[in-house]
């Protein structure tokens, strides 16, 4: 029987007190769509690329998208300034960082049920209280269809 630990892929992680710019760097350079945020090995949440993007964008652009058009290309630099002085933990709230977690010995059906119930594209896998990786919905589907 395939267990969650067998399918769990390692994901980059950062501690809650890491600079927010470091989380952004990991997302950009390692070409992953999420970064796990942990404290003393315990998962606190995830920061996704979309979550980070919404954090970078000023709220006035979200309130009035027409304002994005009046800003020149160079204004992109301003977006990065919004991360300066911030910590990884601060990115969690806006990113809606709560993701479901399963134990390493959970079956794939259990993983699927948790994922569908939470409508989350990613499930974190922990073993002995420590985070060992994550399972994406596409990896799970591929494995289930192979079975």
């Amino acid at each position: 029987v395939t267990r969650a630990r067998d399918l769990a892929a390692p994901y980059p992680s950062a501690p809650t007190d890491a600079p927010a710019t470091e989380v952004a760097r990991i997302l950009a350079e390692e070409e992953v769509d999420v970064v796990f945020i942990e404290r003393q090995g315990q998962l606190q949440g995830v920061v996704s690329d979309i979550g980070l993007l919404s954090r970078l964008l000023p709220s006035y652009i979200l309130e009035d998208p027409k304002l994005a058009q009046v800003m020149e290309e160079g204004a992109a630099d301003l977006l990065w300034r919004r991360l300066e002085g911030r910590r990884a933990a601060e990115l969690l709230a806006k990113a809606g960082g709560e993701i479901p977690q399963v134990d390493g010995d959970a079956t794939l059906m259990e993983v699927a049920a948790v994922m569908a119930g939470a409508r989350a594209p990613l499930v974190a896998v922990r073993e002995g209280g420590r985070l060992i990786g994550g399972i994406t919905s596409s990896a799970l589907l591929t494995r289930l269809l192979q079975a």
């Binding site: 000023p58 709220s59 006035y60 309130e63 027409k66 304002l67 058009q69 009046v70 204004a75």
Partner: protein, 430 residues
């Protein structure tokens, strides 16, 4: 028995609306349902009588204007004007605040206050961020300006729409009686801004280039739609103003404007109908039925008699009391239910106190008190609440006390100035 029941339902509903513990639409519709279920008001009265039921003129005027505003919002006109004026002000903070205040007050006289602040606030935060200015004082000034500006016209603030319909007052009546005072109040408010927000005017010449790089022309996303909405806006304003000649009620003019604009825009109407605040319209309907029941059982007439006794038939005393009581109550409760309740009371007072003289001044007193009093606290007007929400989402939260500290002073100053205006214009010169 029926009177006691009607008063109880109304009082409980009012308390729930004021406490904001239950959604105000739920309360208004449940209250209206109870009034109908216990036959305090008949369905014939509720749906077909303007004295005891829904004032459809108000509902359709609001609906028409919401659609027109829904189209105008898409054009980018306000974003253009805000950035253009900030650039013209050369990044000088006080001049920018004045430009934004004037733009907001003017727009609020033509559109509803909430829409106006929703249009101007995001671009204000952008301008402040570019100039490294604290957005909170500018946002507070916008909310206060929108409540002052909205007082000037029939369509500027929902209480004015209710008053116009109840008192049969025209757009020009509002313009000629309230707009001159509003211009004066705005000038005073602009002067007050210099003092109240003096710490927010730190000029940073090195940041001005950041402002100048904004291209306001890019905000205009659809020039054809802009031209069409401006044309319809001008035509609708002319229609409101020419009521004496054309004899079209404001609701008819607004609906015509909305219909023409939807036809011209040539887009699926749902795009614009999404902007209609259906909950607000439902709130108004429930409220009208509840107040209609109070009129029907005679409570409103008793209130009016008590008010007439209290003032002893002295019009100046009644005018003063109405202004200050309305101002104080509107500071803490929603001014829409307040005016919906007070409009029939005022109608009765105008009849009772008028005698030989024209007691229309009472309507202006009610409008000024209700509209300007809303500035006093952070929850006194919908525009204030919207600004608080926007500023929090932008990461520049404004506390209740912070807003109220400025709002109370501005409300007090504007109400104090309204008194000599009313006295001079309607008692000395009138």
């Amino acid at each position: 028995m029926s009177t006691a029941f009607a008063v109880t339902v109304f009082a409980v509903a009012y308390a729930l609306i004021a406490s904001e513990k239950v959604n105000r639409v739920t309360v208004a519709l449940a209250g209206a349902g109870l009034m109908l279920a216990f036959r305090l008001v008949s369905s014939e009265d509720a749906f077909h009588s303007t004295d005891f039921g829904i004032d459809w003129d108000v509902i359709f005027l609001l609906l028409g204007m919401m659609i027109v505003v829904g189209v105008m919002k898409q054009t980018g006109l306000f974003e253009y004007l805000a950035i253009w004026s900030a650039k013209k002000a050369q990044g000088q903070p006080y001049r920018i605040m004045v430009a934004l205040v004037v733009l907001t007050a003017f727009a609020s006289a033509l559109l509803d206050n909430v829409t106006t602040v929703l249009l101007v606030a995001p671009v204000t935060i952008l301008i402040c961020e570019r100039l490294e200015l604290p957005p909170a004082p500018y946002l507070i000034a916008l909310a206060l300006a929108s409540n002052i500006g909205g007082t000037a016209t029939l369509i500027g603030d929902p209480p004015n729409i209710i008053i116009a319909s109840q008192a049969d007052l025209t757009y020009l009546d509002f313009l000629s009686n309230l707009a001159p005072l509003v211009v004066l109040l705005l000038a005073v408010f602009i002067a007050m801004c210099r003092l109240l927000f003096r710490s927010a005017f730190r000029y940073r010449p090195e940041r001005v280039r950041e402002l100048m790089t904004l291209d306001e022309r890019e905000a205009i996303v659809d020039r054809r739609l802009l031209a069409q909405s401006l044309a319809v806006g001008v035509a609708a304003t002319a229609g409101f103003a020419l009521h004496g000649l054309l004899h079209y009620d404001p609701s008819v003019v607004a609906l015509l404007g909305a219909g023409v604009l939807l036809l011209l825009a040539n887009r699926p109407p749902l795009v614009f109908l999404r902007e209609v605040e259906w909950p607000t319209l439902a709130f108004f309907m429930g409220l009208f039925i509840m107040v209609g029941a109070l009129v029907k059982v005679g409570v409103i007439q008793s209130l009016a008699n008590a008010a007439a006794d209290l003032t002893g038939g002295r019009l100046l005393l009644a005018t003063t009391l109405l202004l200050w009581v309305s101002g104080l109550l509107s500071a803490v409760i929603d001014n829409i239910p307040y005016v919906a309740t007070m409009a029939p009371v005022t109608a009765s007072l105008v009849q009772d106190l008028g005698g030989d003289q024209d007691a229309t001044v009472l309507w202006w007193s009610l409008a000024l008190g209700a509209d300007l009093g809303g500035n006093a606290t952070a929850i006194g007007a919908s525009a204030n609440v919207v600004i608080l929400g926007l500023s929090e989402r932008a990461g520049h939260p404004i506390s209740f006390l912070q807003f109220t500290k400025y709002g109370a002073l501005v409300a007090l100053a504007t109400l104090v100035l309204s008194m000599p205006y009313l006295w001079l214009r309607y008692f000395v010169l009138g």
